[in-house]
Symmetry: C2
Subunit: 263 residues, 2 copies
């Protein structure tokens, strides 16, 4: 039984893709002692760049792929099914996408999902121990292997269906991508007037505490929820030379008013 | 000199207004040993509610106002100038608004601004020591008094002009009010599908770290910045029964695409 468990562990991984997600994950698995068999990218120098960091070999041709314990496909969503169809070996294969359903393999059912629910950008570190890893697999055996693999990275490994994962991914875009964009706009407005972002940090931190602890709707403040059109007008004037930010400010304010006070 | 300094300190304060800002500030000043002379609100029971918490007296008639060291006017922006014109005594008076310019008093120049750059909602605590207090005054003497008063609450008291404060306030709406609204929408989407927000907390925390440390624009991830229209379409389908959230998702995605890739 113990021997079975050891045998069922994934110890060798090949990454298909070398972008932000593949890099963050490959580097962490390497740090945890796993062997990165190969790194595939259509762009060989990109493949080599990541391969060097994880003591691996970069390749750019599917025919060069060796057998390994797992292929992790970390490519753009629209490339996933093409890549899956290129992988002819019997090695199990997972993708890392939040939005793409479980892909049934052509030859066998050794396919799954290994989705780290986090934002990965160049130059920002990741505290892997708290990153939820959402897993799914076409069979129980692979699911168990993925669970063990996920636990190497994180204390929070969860089995999530494709349908649930798609909803979580949409929610993640609302909570992360759009918020980051608002942060970028905020930084632009302040920089244009030589004002420091530091001044806003306590506010930003409290906003995040409000969102992660309790009902954000009940904590809404600001001119829109108060229907304070005078302040909204003043802000329109301040943003006069930023027509796109101004338009977005107005759209969001209208949305808040409708959300809290009806149409 | 030392005696002058003692005399110049503000020790007795009356609050005009009893909403979130007045309550948070009055309670903190009371905790720090100041005397809250009176609490004024048009709604007497609201005035009494706050007054009880800070060992003070609630009133709802301007003729009942006693002399004190400072009136703090924490009312809605559009009511500020009316309230200022009602205050006939020689007591200095400040407002707490981010958006309203310094108000010149009718009888004297003892007027100023005492703006705490933070979001205050019922049931969420405030770590006052880190809240930036933006002060402004019609004369140097009052400015100095407000500085000492601010330092009772916070380690971060800054003299900020009306023009700068208005820009900071607009930026704060982008960084806080809109972000909180996105948080509320995220919670709604997850709750509708019985999914826990806990799963998103590490993502939300990293997003906030990204915004407060470095260029958020360079950390942008997600389907919009990748121009991944397939994923955007999937999310549109997930949000099909939430037409308003769907419309906002689309508006924000278009904004990100234009911001990163041009029109």
């Amino acid at each position: 039984m113990a021997k079975d468990k050891v045998n069922s562990e994934i110890k060798h991984i090949t990454f298909i893709g070398s972008g932000n997600v593949a890099s963050a994950m490959a580097e962490e698995f390497f740090k945890k002692g796993l062997i990165i068999t190969q790194v595939f990218s259509r762009n060989l120098s990109q493949a080599n760049l990541l391969a060097e960091k994880v003591n691996s070999t970069g390749i750019n041709n599917y025919s060069q792929l060796k057998e390994t314990d797992l292929f992790i496909v970390a490519v753009s969503d629209d490339a996933i099914s093409t890549v899956f169809s290129e992988l002819k070996s019997s090695t199990p294969v997972v993708h890392t996408s939040g939005n793409t359903a479980l892909q049934e393999r052509y030859q066998n059912t050794e396919s799954g999902v290994f989705y780290p629910l986090q934002t990965f950008s160049k130059g920002s570190g990741t505290n892997w121990s708290e990153v939820p890893i959402c897993i799914e697999a076409a069979n129980e055996d692979l699911l168990q292997k993925l669970h063990l693999l996920g636990e190497l990275l994180s204390e929070n490994v969860k089995t999530i269906t494709s349908a649930e994962r798609a909803i979580i991914h949409a929610a993640a875009v609302l909570a992360c991508n759009f918020t980051n964009h608002l942060g970028a706009l905020t930084q632009e407005v302040l920089e244009d007037h030589n004002l420091s972002l530091d001044l806003l940090n306590p506010l930003i931190q409290k906003t995040f505490r409000n969102i992660t602890s309790g009902k954000a709707k009940e904590k809404q403040t600001g001119p829109a929820v108060r229907e304070d059109y005078g302040t909204i007008d003043s802000h329109m004037k301040i943003l006069e030379d930023k027509p796109e930010i101004k338009a977005l400010y107005l759209a969001l304010s209208k949305h808040i008013i409708a959300y809290h006070h009806g149409q």
